[in-house]
């Protein structure tokens, strides 16, 4: 059967009335948990899993998938409006999205985020439909050495993320790397920096750090400002982006989609890495990088398209290889098994109606999300006019519930509060915490793959330059480093980034 025949089969499954309904419930729930800071798809999906027992497997999986990519949509809303990431993957959207809102362009930012996400989602759906098996093969080509080099490239690129001094950016990355060391080392089984606390043996969760450093600290900062808070809701004009905005955002969306799609396929990648890299790339390519962090529309379009594309393409290894590329996908495997479907390479041939039905439903879901989100922009913006004395305590409560629900651990809530305080110090020190988060994500993966690669090569570092993928990535990283380090360019960079 050709791709169109397959897609027809898929749509015949996805477009039944009941499946449209489950898809709608999924994306609606996803949008909601995306908007609520802290409450993420992992907790939601695992709580809803028993409730899906009564549904036919295809409907259940369509709904659960909808929650996941719906959350990527919703996450941007909170980021743009209150400078709090609704999901970890929307951390970078705060940087420019919130600045746009401050300039009275909240509606525009939300519109761009929704449209960029829709575009990325549609492209990623087509990618899955047309090229899932070869793309999965590509992911298999990546060995430990190649992953290490990819992480090196990511870390070098992370420097570009920061606005402000280069030293501070590097310091934040290193702090992130150090935080990533906490927990059991996979190679030796030794618990590092756990201080004998069993809660720290698995390390600190990314949700804990993100909610603390980006969520709690923002609330503390706002408390400080007392009643003199800027009111920018009144001046909101056009809700939809105009032609000039679209022209500006389109290339960013295209690049974000490409980068996100690629990183989503790799195990361990996914939406977080996708959104960070896309933002970095845009800033690097921009003629005037100084606009970033001050409300650049590309700074919203790129990460939002990337995280949505990545959320979707992370289904590729799951559906074609039975490999979960992130914790949500591991949960989807569990959901399949509970519904009596054995995930793995045979799923495409053994259950074509499930495979293609799910893919088609993703496009349906993305369409529903735009329909759901665009008219709701006005409603979200109204949220801003809610008195902060109600809004912030509510957000704090949702953050706490969300952080708790990840592991059912009170310790995580305390840690979030601690990171909130640390984040407040960062604000006072005028440092950008986004590189910290990237260092935190990349560091452990980098160490793990470095040691694994060296274990496999019996200690010989030649694997890093003898493997073509690894070599190319290292050359790219080196080139980027040279650009950052060259004195004159560096000076220009300082000028451009220093306020």
């Amino acid at each position: 059967m050709d791709i169109f025949g397959n897609l027809m089969l898929g749509f015949s499954v996805a477009l039944t009335l009941s499946n449209i309904m489950y898809c709608f419930i999924g994306v609606l729930l996803g949008t909601l948990i995306g908007v609520l800071p802290g409450i993420g798809p992992i907790a939601t999906i695992s709580m809803l899993l028993p409730a899906t027992f009564v549904l036919p497997p295809v409907s259940a999986l369509i709904m659960l998938a909808g929650i996941y990519y719906g959350a990527q949509y919703g996450g941007s809303t909170t980021a743009i409006l209150v400078n709090l990431p609704g999901e970890v993957s929307s951390v970078v959207t705060c940087l420019d999205g919130y600045q746009m809102a401050r300039q009275g362009k909240a509606g525009k930012a939300l519109g761009v985020a929704a449209l960029a996400s829709f575009f990325a989602g549609s492209v990623a759906t087509l990618l899955i439909a047309g090229f899932a098996p070869p793309l999965a093969e590509l992911a298999l080509k990546f060995g430990p050495a190649d992953y290490f080099s990819l992480m090196v490239l990511g870390l070098v690129a992370a420097v570009v993320l920061a606005h402000g001094s280069l030293i501070k950016a590097i310091a934040m990355i290193i702090l992130g790397l150090l935080l990533g060391l906490i927990g059991t080392d996979v190679n030796s089984g030794v618990a590092r920096y756990s201080f004998g606390l069993p809660e720290l043996i698995d390390g600190v969760g990314i949700g804990t750090i993100a909610m603390g450093v980006f969520g709690f600290s923002e609330i503390i900062r706002n408390l400080e400002q007392g009643e003199k808070r800027e009111v920018f809701t009144k001046s909101i004009t056009g809700l939809l982006p105009n032609w000039a905005d679209i022209k500006q955002a389109t290339p960013a969306t295209l690049r974000g989609t490409a980068l996100g799609s690629f990183l989503g396929i790799l195990p361990g990648g996914g939406p977080v890495l996708g959104s960070f890299s896309a933002y970095t790339l845009e800033k690097k390519l921009a003629k005037d990088p100084s606009r970033f962090g001050k409300g650049a529309i590309e700074g919203v379009a790129a990460p939002e398209s990337a995280n949505n594309a990545a959320a979707q393409t992370s289904f590729i290894p799951l559906l074609t290889l039975g490999i979960p590329s992130n914790p949500v996908m591991a949960l989807m495997i569990g959901a399949m098994i509970i519904h009596g479907i054995q995930p793995g390479p045979q799923i495409m041939t053994a259950k074509p109606e499930l495979f293609w039905g799910m893919i088609a439903s993703m496009w349906v879901g993305n369409f529903l999300l735009v329909v759901l989100n665009l008219p709701m922009i006005g409603l979200w913006v109204k949220l801003l006019s809610v008195d902060y004395k109600y809004l912030y305590p509510a957000i704090l409560i949702f953050c706490c519930i969300g952080v708790y629900s990840i592991n059912n651990a009170t310790m995580d809530v305390f840690l979030t509060a601690l990171f909130g305080f640390i984040g407040y110090l960062f604000i006072k020190l005028d440092t950008e915490p986004a590189p910290l988060l990237l260092g935190f994500v990349l560091g452990p993966m980098m160490e793990e793959n470095l040691r694994r690669a060296l274990l496999l090569s019996r200690g010989s570092p030649s694997v890093f330059y003898e493997r073509p993928i690894s070599l190319v990535l290292l050359i790219l990283a080196f080139a980027l480093l040279v650009i950052v380090m060259l004195p004159n360019i560096s000076k220009k960079r300082e000028e451009a980034f220093q306020e």
Binding site: I45, V186, P267, Q342
Partner: protein, 316 residues
């Protein structure tokens, strides 16, 4: 007369509640803590038990994950829960024996009261389909010809897979390298991508990766239906029937009669034909190590795991 019937029924309820609470056990939902992440084998087994528990005993089995420290976080808290029969927890071997030997955890093997082990996934040597090793003999011959060159992926350090790998080296007199991954899902890409020579994993991996992998040997007592061509270690002359056992533990304060009752209840679910099919379809082999068989079983297991722990350098 309706009213009289109603009163009589009411009287019966009063009479029932006057009896020790146990007579009506279970009268409210049970909380079933799983020390591993949702979607893993322990979680899946628990969720497959849920509907049968409800149908048989008329109350919900609420699965709640308490993830951390490879299960140790939950197990070290188990005895702080009330022993009223309404809190139960997933328990796993060899974790419960190996972790205390390793020394980082705040519980001892004997602190955990296991009431049943109901399933296990047998250890297995898995290679990818393209692998030059067609049989177990090919693999051992290669490992002997070039000592120290072959790499085996496994889930975690000081884990069941790690123990099995050391055992393989020891029993065959070979020297191969163990490469730890974060969980089985994490190692599959490296296995079928050919970045390692094979994996010391569970037979169930072959079910999930049908067509992409080949199982060279399995540590079950007889050949498995889904890989009929794969010999058991016993057939190959190795005394090795082992794997990861999964069961249920209760807080120490749980009275003897409730321990027995719970053990019987889950053994009863194990006898359901439909449940058996759902479990074996996932590569989980059913066992019935009930409460009465537990002391002997644990003694035997401890001896075996102490042996492998010595190989790993965890114990003297």
């Amino acid at each position: 007369m309706k009213r009289r019937e109603f009163l009589a029924a009411g009287g019966a309820i009063v009479a029932a509640s006057a009896l020790p609470a146990r007579a009506a056990y279970p009268e409210k939902p049970l909380r079933y803590y799983i020390p591993f992440s949702p979607g893993g084998e322990s979680d899946i087994a628990a969720r497959l038990q849920q509907p049968f528990f409800k149908a048989k005993f008329g109350t919900e089995l609420v699965v709640e994950s308490k993830v951390g420290a490879g299960g140790a976080l939950a197990w070290s808290q188990l005895n702080t829960f009330p022993g009223d029969g309404y809190t139960i927890m997933g328990s796993n071997l060899p974790h419960l024996v190996l972790q205390p030997l390793e020394g980082n955890v705040q519980y001892k093997t004997d602190d955990i009261v296991n009431i049943i082990f109901f399933q296990y996934t047998p250890d297995a040597i898995v290679v990818r389909s393209e692998s030059p090793f067609k049989t177990y003999q090919d693999l051992v011959a290669a490992a002997k010809a070039k000592p120290g060159t072959l790499n085996f992926a496994g889930s975690g350090t000081n884990s069941a897979n790690h123990a099995a790998h050391e055992r393989l080296n020891n029993l065959t007199g070979t020297k191969t390298q163990y490469v730890a991954f974060k969980g089985t899902g994490d190692l599959v890409a490296s296995l079928i991508g050919g970045h390692v020579d094979g994996a010391m994993s569970y037979a169930s991996l072959a079910l999930a990766q049908r067509g992409k992998t080949r199982v060279l040997a399995v540590a079950s007592d007889k050949r498995l239906d889904y890989i009929p061509d794969t010999p058991t270690f016993r057939e190959l002359g190795l005394d090795w029937v082992d794997g990861a056992f999964r069961g249920i533990a209760v807080p120490k304060s749980t009275p003897e009669d409730l321990r027995r009752k719970l053990s019987d209840m889950f053994a009863e679910i194990n006898r359901e034909a439909e449940f058996r099919k759902q479990m074996t379809d996932q590569g989980m082999e059913l066992v019935d190590i009930t409460y009465d068989k537990m002391p002997a079983f644990m003694e035997e297991r401890k001896k075996v795991y102490l042996g492998t722990a010595k190989l790993m350098g965890l114990a003297k």
